[in-house]
Amino acid sequence: MDRHCPLPLENHDTVQLAHGAGGRLADELLGKLFMPLLHNRFLARRDDQALLPAFSGKLAFTTDSYVVTPLFFPGGDIGSLSVHGTVNDLAVGGAVPRYLSAGFVLEEGFPIAELERVVRSMAAAARECGVEVVTGDTKVVGRGQCDGMFITTSGIGELRDGVDLSCSNLRPGDRIIVSGTLGDHGIALLTARHGLSFTGSALRSDSAPLHRLVAAMLDRYRGVHAMRDATRGGLSAVLNELASASAVGIVLQEDTLPVDSAVRGAAELLGIDPLEVANEGKLVAVVPQGEAEGVLEAMRTCPDGTGRNAALVGEVVQEHPGMVVMETGFGSRRIVEMPLGEQLPRIC
């Protein structure tokens, strides 16, 4: 009998504080759950750091913490989300995503089976994105000191040659393109959290990786001015940030904005503007006028379908720098504000 062979993990069906304390249980979690599911040659070294092969050019480096409630939601879970989100932040920087790190904070008592489900989903998402989770960490905090599980992923990508994407690159005349329907993730989550009032809806998060879409766009036209994934704060936040960073105005055409019909229905009911709601598989691109149609075409025909509802929704103007304006179908205009923050549904 091997003195170091750990007990079957089934002996603990929930996460214990000891799983995060660097001793035998922590070892067991690593050896029996994380390593088999995320296996690669870097993790297999079991060292405190991954040693990555040399890169030829510039790197993109990004991080995000994922604190979503519920952890499993229609269209995804915190595991796949934590891969997609970080892959997307690399992709919209013009980089080819390569390596991820993952830091887990687990609440004591969290079911091991759910942890396994999350890590499995993470592994599948990483495979789809062509990235490897090469280093990680797990901490366990006391019951009531974390909401089940938080994941922080960081990512390293290889920057494409000749790409210069930045939120300060907008020029008057540029066209604004969004890659698909707006608000799906945020509305799906809000309604999932209030299951009593929303039940049986067709609402699904759009959580998806955008690295192939970005590749298709940059393959078509490497000179795209700016790209952002429209996560927290939605399209409104991204456009306000872009307008502000580039000191230009932006005018949107309300009629052109793609919104899924179920999302629109829920948004009307909640009194929430889908433009202010988070997406997890949508990007905004700013493209010089002459290239916009070509890029749009490349997006719509991207084989993974992530750009099939891409649309040209507005343009960059010299007027009202820092401000985003919506032109309604009635010919009137209104301001598209930077959202304040927390999305609170209105009832009256």
């Binding site: 105005g249 629109r264 209104r334 504000e337 209105r346 009256c348």
Partner: protein, 368 residues
């Protein structure tokens, strides 16, 4: 979306606007009593489609805006007690009390939840038998049936850890108060469509007659609003007094009697204070004595909570239609959505927030 998209048809809107321009020969000052309509008007920029002479004045029709500072402070006091859970509609969480809002109380450890329906609050009480669950029951006539049903249901189930902090307002007395106030400029009213779904159109007839002011009940979509404005302008131009219904698919003259009956069973009329306006006689609802066991005011010791509005805030004038939000000195400066001085800057329906959010044309403090 059926019953929505048809009423947002741009071409129809343009044609109605043309008609309206033709029909208007003189300036008219019209109040949309309902904050939801204010929101629609500014969201779609409908004010930009009106002929020169038509001024829209935004009324006090938002229960979030007119709930008193005292009620907010009481809700905060309840939420801050150990062992309580305060449930409220989402837009109540950022209404400023005398110091902070419910969101801040939550961030200090108070258990504050937002709900979509009063029945969700009831469910919270069922699921948390060891907590006192208090629902901040705000509303006009539209919300009263739902809030009343929650109380009646708690009584039926004997759910003793549920109670309501009531802040209920009635629209007709507010309209009367506005028309009776010195310096009134309002010549015609757009009636609040969803209030009338419950009350019907009849309660407005005496007001229209007494003050010789026409009322047209309006819906919330661009076609609904513009067509109601057109009808109201026609009535004004023709000097017709009366109540007409431009929202017939949802409003009937007698309203919803089943709903009104449960409201009467649970609530009774009382004098209440409107934030920024003051007490208006017989303008609100309070719990009937027979439901006192579900009255949060009787359950909790809330002595000493008695506070006044911020003196810089002119919400009274805004809500009474005496000024537009951008005439308030604080607008866009000390008072902004992320730091509201008054309630109308909080709710998506508040006149000040709607102005701040959507108005390109308001001269101050920015323009586009």
């Amino acid at each position: 979306m059926k019953y929505i998209d048809e009423y947002r048809d741009a071409e129809v809107v343009r044609r109605i606007a043309e008609r309206l321009a033709q029909a208007t020969t003189r300036p008219w000052t019209i109040m949309e009593i309902c904050g939801g309509q204010t929101h629609s008007i500014l969201r779609y920029g409908l004010d930009q489609l009106l002929p020169e002479g038509i001024s829209l004045v935004h009324g006090p029709g938002c229960p979030v805006c007119v709930t008193s500072v005292k009620t907010i402070d009481r809700a905060i006091a309840i939420a801050s007690k150990p062992g309580t859970l305060l449930a409220a509609f989402g837009d109540m969480l950022r209404v400023p009390g005398s110091s902070g809002d419910l969101a801040a109380a939550r961030s200090r450890g108070g258990d504050v939840r937002f709900v979509f329906s009063p029945l969700e609050a009831l469910q919270l009480a069922r699921e948390n038998p060891h907590k006192e669950v208090v629902f901040l029951a705000v509303g006009f006539e539209t919300t009263a049936p739902g809030n009343a049903m929650a109380v009646r249901q708690a009584a039926r189930e004997g759910l003793m850890n549920f109670s309501v902090l009531v802040s209920h307002f009635l629209v007709p007395p507010a309209m009367e108060a506005i028309l009776a106030s010195s310096g009134n400029r309002i010549q015609g009213f757009l009636g609040a469509g969803h209030v009338c779904t419950v009350t019907g159109t009849e309660p407005y007839l005496p007001i229209a007659r007494k003050f010789q002011t026409p009322v047209v009940v309006a819906g919330f979509e661009p076609v609904d609003l513009l067509s109601a404005i057109l009808r109201l302008v026609q009535m004004l131009e023709e000097e017709l007094v009366g109540v007409e219904n431009a929202y017939g698919r949802v409003v009937e003259p007698q309203g919803n009697p089943a709903a009104a009956a449960v409201v009467r069973e649970v609530f009774e009329v009382a004098d209440v204070a409107w934030r920024g306006i003051g007490v208006i006689p017989a303008s609100g609802l309070v719990l009937r004595e027979s439901f006192r066991e579900w009255d949060a005011l009787r359950k909790f010791e809330l002595g000493g909570v008695d506070t006044a509005d911020d003196v810089r805030c002119r919400s009274g004038d805004v809500l009474a239609g005496r000024i537009t939000p951008d005439s308030c000195d604080a607008f866009g400066r000390e008072c902004r959505p992320e730091h509201p001085l008054g309630a109308p800057m909080v709710s998506g329906e508040g006149a000040c927030a709607a102005y701040y959010r959507y108005r390109c044309s308001s001269a101050k403090p920015f323009s586009c």
